[in-house]
Symmetry: C2
Subunit: 399 residues, 2 copies
């Protein structure tokens, strides 16, 4: 009998208990082995929950119980989630998590501690919620060198952008609606400022390169400045504005950033709408593959957490295949300035000349003109933006 | 040193040799272990290939070489591919394959032989070419009960249907173009008659249910009868005509079939265009997830074959987790007659009454009227079709 402990009985923690209970019969049949949830750690009590009797307020109950071999950390935030994870791994317990903040910040150290202690630290649910993406990248693309990863990694912002495009809602109104529906938090900063997407893209970048960037250090721009003028111009071109986490590995150097981008209709990410996420991976043998599904939510995210628990139980008698990451140093990093892509300049439709911009295609509405250029790097794009001065409304990278 | 043999040096076989060679350094680093291609079995010689010296015409060279522990079968067809696979498994060699005909026809027996002999029989490349789908379903959706799988499983037919929709090409012209580009064979029957898709959907259905249906026994309809009238009516509704392999498990009963279907724009499969494939899986905890990518082609398919080879080498010292399938009996099968979905009737626009059909929405063009109904079962749909008699041009299941 495998004994499991759950740290944090919030949305994902309670979902994990539910998946483990609801699908217990089929999971145990697949595993050929029984399991039990022995503890749930939370500051609160849950007298009305069927799992209420499992609640403990003392982490040491779990840490010191030699029967517990699998710990699922779904507390969120860095502390004490990181500290508890470290203690569990050092005590020889396997840990699974949905906590992108901890994985993106402390992943190098925690993977190394897991390796030293011969246990597993798995985090499928930390990127893309329920979407199978981390294990498929590690296992199914193992025959490939990954060149690029582009993803719609945050369901809240994608919901807001879809409302702006399809309902013509302003950013503020779309955010309010998302909050009403429970898709956005009262303090939406981690989502709308791109912080959540930045954490996820550094995890994906580490899978592609073996180097973990500091999520706070990567260029990160959210969706708060996107206007309806921008989304309308995008539509005129047949494009969609999406918040994209992008990573690429070139000549051994790694670049990752988060920004709103113009996504052409031919790119499969352009049709990932609402709260769904999509992760497009370009690799040298397979070409482009995409993983699509619910990027958040109680049961979808729990589905991925439990997949990790099953992985651990199924392989409990075999030596763990360690994930080995290093902290990215300056020598590993590609400068953002050199990043080349097509650009879309959106300029006031004031009758003035647009000759300053080497546009390949221009589309105008009453308010604004959209100018689509060939590929140029960041330095060039900034120089053109400066030339436009006050007339520039915004400039987008094209995916 | 792991010794590998390749059976069949056609498109996928030569691609496999190329991936194993091209990415040798990174694959060996990931594995912490070296490998070598020792034999390539083919009836032909390849004096100009860098792999030419590895060619043997005698299967027994491979079978009787105890050094060969991994055999990649990419011969196509049932015989001798099945016979060679069986012999290799019985000789204690692991086998990987891209051969959907063999897996869908002999999968139960071959998985069982692999189990008995403590070796692995893996077939990621048999469905969806390079798209990670089989291993993600087994591992990442292990916490779920799978209810439905719908897939665009054949790139040739999807290329033809995309040309018909986007270029207004007739089926015959689009097929000729696909043949010219090498996407379709001189004898295109396996693709355009849905036979290839039927093999793939029974494999996916077996992953969902543990029961393997006879691919020849499932209702299978190809794309040869689809007209430009149909694709135009579809577009008027904002739908796309796609060849869909569909499987579902309900109350322990399994149904699988292949047919052209009307796919609404909101369904992510509607935007899977050209030679790409997409597999949408609905499971009880995660909801809908989709896997997208190149469903065929030399290097993409080889990427999946080599992922299986890597899986075998990485786990060579651990006991194989057997895939256990049973042949589906009549008691396991759901009757097609009971299958319920919305329908689209396409009727000549002859000014006659359309009252016989309980349409929720009607769109007319010069030639034809499209009538979209609520869900009805097959028996009901046939009865309505009969009422329309000669006036009926076609009737589609809606996805």
């Amino acid at each position: 009998m495998i004994q499991i402990a759950i740290l944090g009985f919030g949305v994902v923690g309670s979902g994990t208990a539910e998946v483990l209970t609801e699908n217990k019969a089929i999971i145990e049949e697949r595993l050929g082995c029984e399991y039990n949830i022995k503890y749930i750690l939370d500051l609160r009590d849950f007298p009305d929950s069927p799992f209420g009797s499992l609640v403990t307020h003392k982490f040491d109950d779990i840490l010191n119980d030699p029967e517990v071999s699998v710990v699922a950390e779904m507390m969120g935030g860095s502390h004490p989630a990181y500290d508890f994870t470290k203690a569990c791994l050092e005590a020889g317990k396997n840990v699974v998590t949905s906590n992108k903040e901890v994985v993106s910040t402390f992943g190098v150290e925690l993977c190394e501690i897991a390796r030293e202690h011969g246990v597993r630290y798995l985090f499928e649910a930390s990127v893309g919620g329920g979407i199978p993406v981390i294990r498929p990248i590690i296992n199914d693309l193992a025959s490939n060198q990954i060149g690029k990863v582009s993803g719609i990694l945050n369901g809240t912002t994608n919901y807001i952008l879809t409302s702006m495009r399809d309902q013509g809602a302003s950013f503020e109104d779309a955010l309010k609606e998302a909050q009403k529906l429970g898709y956005a938090e009262a303090n939406p900063s981690a989502d709308v400022d791109g912080i959540d997407a930045a954490r996820k893209i550094v995890i994906l970048a580490a899978l592609a390169s073996g180097k973990l960037l500091d999520p706070k250090s990567i260029p990160t721009e959210g969706i708060t400045k996107i206007t309806l003028t921008d989304t309308k111009i995008a539509q005129e071109f047949g494009y969609s504005v999406k918040l994209i986490g992008h990573a690429e590995v070139k000549d051994g150097k790694l670049l990752a950033f988060v920004s709103p981008r113009m996504v052409p209709a031919a790119n499969p990410l352009s049709r990932i709408d609402g709260v769904f996420n999509g992760i497009l991976v370009s690799a040298n043998m397979v070409g482009d593959v995409m993983f699509y599904g619910p990027g958040a939510g109680k049961l979808p995210t729990a589905s991925a957490v439990v997949a990790d628990i099953i992985d651990i139980i199924a392989n409990r008698n075999t030596e763990p295949k360690a994930i080995v990451w290093e902290e990215a140093t300056d020598a590993d990093k590609m400068a953002m300035d050199a990043y080349e892509c097509r650009r879309m300049f959106i300029v006031k439709n004031d009758g003035g000349t647009l000759d300053a911009i080497p546009a390949k295609q221009i589309i105008s509405t009453d308010d604004a003109c959209g100018l689509l250029t060939d590929a140029m790097n960041e330095t060039e794009a900034k120089a053109y933006a400066e030339k436009l001065g006050d007339r520039l409304l915004s400039v987008y990278r094209v995916l």
